[in-house]
């Protein structure tokens, strides 16, 4: 039963990674850049939600929406100011700019909100009649504890994945997005506004990062300006694991990464959990060099 418990917890954590990875993968698919500042947008979203709910006493849902709004604007502004002028530049230059952006966001957060850790409120809890807070549903006489956060994470992740699949597959904007990721010049000739499409991708990715930030902090309550970097790196790993540029791949990669991390921590060694996650990634990439669901690109000779 404890295995099932760990598996479910892993899926909960993995769902958060998957949501971040979806943002990563979409931005990578269209802009062909590793957006290192993505992890820090998670942190900004979490801070916005924290202040909205704790300081101003707004309901959690409003807090999340506000965080999404702020992150969307932030994502689009970053793209316009820092990445758009580098569209023609070599990819390493864009990478360094993204790293600079990541430093900038972390240090700005440190100045604005001080490095002291903030304790994120517990959103997903019910109050028992005796006043204690309950955060999980005990099943089978308490042998299995189903945490509310896990349920919300998995549900949110599945909904987002389905919505994105529908969006990129069926809507006009989504098709434009896929066209741009295939060939920007050809898309432009077909009358697609490439700049607007890229902005839209950054907007969606950043909004997802805000949701992920709130969900991540609901499980790991300590919020500091560098909170975003580790989940950012993990989600990046998840996106590559599943095949970067692929939406189902990011979903699968995220879930698997979370499950492996929790199981490795529970059964092998807590200290080595991260090392095991990365080792699994390396082995996977050796067997499938384009990730689990990535399409291998044929080389032009």
């Amino acid at each position: 039963m404890s295995f099932l418990n760990h598996l479910i917890n892993g899926m909960g954590l993995g769902s958060v990674y998957a949501i971040i990875a979806l943002g990563y993968t979409m931005v990578y698919g269209i802009a062909k850049m590793l957006n290192f500042a993505h992890g820090d947008i998670i942190m900004v979203g979490a801070y916005v939600c924290f202040f909205a709910t704790s300081t101003y006493g707004l309901p959690p849902l409003v807090g999340v929406l506000l965080a999404m709004l702020v992150c969307t604007v932030l994502g689009v502004v970053i793209e316009r100011l820092a990445y758009k002028p580098l569209r023609q530049a070599p990819s390493l230059a864009v990478l360094i700019t993204a790293i600079g952006m990541s430093y900038f966001l972390q240090n700005a957060a440190q100045l604005l909100w001080t490095p002291n850790p903030k304790i994120f409120p517990q959103f997903f809890a019910t109050t028992n009649p005796d006043g204690t807070q309950q955060t999980a549903i005990p099943l089978f006489d308490g042998a299995l504890n189903l945490k509310y956060t896990t349920i919300v994470n998995v549900a949110a992740c599945v909904i987002i994945m389905l919505a994105l699949t529908w969006f990129t597959g069926k809507t006009k904007m989504g098709k434009a997005m896929r066209a741009c990721s295939e060939n920007k010049a050809a898309a432009q000739l077909m009358g697609i506004d490439v700049n607007a499409t890229i902005s839209l991708t950054f907007a969606i990715g950043s909004a997802l990062a805000a949701i992920a930030g709130v969900l991540y902090l609901s499980s790991y309550q300590t919020l500091v300006p560098t909170t975003g970097s580790m989940p950012g790196i993990k989600a990046f790993t998840a996106a590559v694991f599943g095949g970067i540029g692929s939406i189902p791949g990011a979903f699968l990669g995220g879930i698997l990464l979370g499950v492996i991390e929790i199981l490795a921590g529970a059964y092998i060694s807590t200290q080595l959990a991260n090392a095991i996650v990365f080792a699994v990634l390396i082995v996977t990439l050796l067997v499938r060099p384009a990730g689990l669901l990535g399409k291998p690109v044929a080389e032009k000779v």
Binding site: K32, L34, A82, P85, L86, Q88, A89, P90, S91, L92, A93, V94, L95, I96, T97, I99, G100, M101, Y103, F104, N107, A108, Q110, L111, S229, I233, F236, T237, V240, I244, S269, Q271, L272, N274, A275, F278, A279, L281, I282, L285, L286, P289, A290, G291, E299, V301
Partner: protein, 361 residues
């Protein structure tokens, strides 16, 4: 007689780089000498920074070999530095009684650091170099994180019987007079600082010598051919794996000796010092200095190590300013108008400042 003295353009450039390093060393040595020290030309903070600057310069040079010459993006270079730092420091502490003199002990530490990093480079290079582009980058990142985790859980102790190792939990029973060298997450404490600026300077010269000679050899040309077009190079019979490994392992070995130099200039050492951020920091030196340009890496590494110190008067804002400077420099160096302006100014065919990215094509 005149003919033999005529140097090629590359050799001139290389000698200029050597000259620049020697000149910088001479000036800094003079400024740091006792006669001038009273004048306060070289602040104590800057003097303390000299050894780390040398270590970072060697790191940048070695990463430039991987990123600039081999053309593969590595995000885990700090891992090799870490291997070199810990193996070198443990060797230096273990040999403290056998070889009391600092200089030879530092030399042995750097050689051992380089040796261990070479082994790590070979082990990592075999799987990593089969991949391309961003996938290669993420695997190097993964290896960097794995090295960090492994060293965090490693315990090393010394007693009369020799060295003892244990992993994850510290379950060793040290004999009489035993001493813990590496204490897992607590790292190494009480390192006796034996690194000197002169040793750092010599290491920079060695690194330059190794890299220039590799780059301007037959192997170096093969490596650059792989960078420019792997398929074409392969089709004319260049063994891909061999030359990729050559560049990657050389780069790892240099990073290992830089790690030993860095560590032996510190009081204490923990494995989290060599994390992803350190790898990125070195990558920033390389990209800002110009890919494949060794003198650029030297200047960028030295300037960007001093910059946060120089910005200390802005205290809280210094890292923010650093980030903004980084973004603005990237935007400016890639601005087509500015580039055209500089190209006109210097009357040279326009060269791409940052070269080709890590994506292969």
């Amino acid at each position: 007689m005149k003919k033999t003295l005529k140097l090629s353009k590359t050799s001139k450039g290389n000698f200029a780089t050597y000259g620049m390093v020697i000149l910088a060393y001479a000036i800094l040595q003079f400024l740091g000498s006792n006669a001038v020290r009273e004048g306060g030309l070289l602040s104590p903070t800057l003097r303390g920074q000299l050894v780390p600057i040398c270590a970072y310069v060697v790191m940048a040079l070695s990463l430039n070999l991987t990123v600039g010459i081999l053309g593969e993006l590595s995000l885990g270079h700090a891992g090799f530095m870490s291997v070199g730092a810990f193996s070198g420091t443990i060797a230096a502490i273990a040999l403290q009684n056998t070889i009391p003199a600092g200089g030879p002990r530092l030399l042995i530490a750097m050689v051992i650091g380089a040796a261990f990093a070479t082994v790590a480079g070979i082990l990592i290079g075999i799987p990593v170099l089969r991949l391309n582009g961003d996938y290669l980058a993420i695997v190097t990142l993964a290896f960097g994180e794995i090295i960090k985790s492994l060293i965090t859980n490693l315990y090393v102790g010394k007693d009369a019987n020799g060295l003892h190792f244990s992993f994850i939990t510290n379950n060793m029973r040290l004999g009489e007079g035993g001493q813990m060298l590496l204490n897992g997450p607590m790292g190494i404490n009480g390192i006796n600082k034996i690194s000197t600026f002169t040793a750092g300077f010599v290491l920079i010269l060695i690194a330059l010598f190794v890299i220039f000679n590799l780059v301007n050899s037959r192997s170096g040309r093969a490596i650059m051919a792989l960078r420019d077009n792997r398929i074409a190079a392969e089709s004319v019979g260049i063994p891909v794996t061999k030359y990729k490994m050559m560049a990657f392992v050389t780069s790892a070995a240099l990073a290992g000796s830089a790690g030993a130099l860095f560590a032996l200039g510190q009081n204490s050492l923990i494995s989290t010092k060599f994390d992803f951020n350190t790898s990125i920091l070195v990558l920033v030196f390389v990209v800002l200095g110009g890919l494949g340009r060794m003198w650029g890496s030297i200047i960028a590494a030295a300037a960007l190590t001093i910059l946060p110190e120089a910005l200390r008067q802005f205290s809280d804002y210094r890292m923010l300013v650093y980030a903004i400077v980084l973004i603005l420099v990237m935007l400016a160096t890639n601005n087509p108008t500015l580039k055209g302006f500089f190209a006109k100014l210097f009357r040279k065919p326009e060269e791409v400042e940052t070269g080709k990215g890590g994506e292969g094509k």
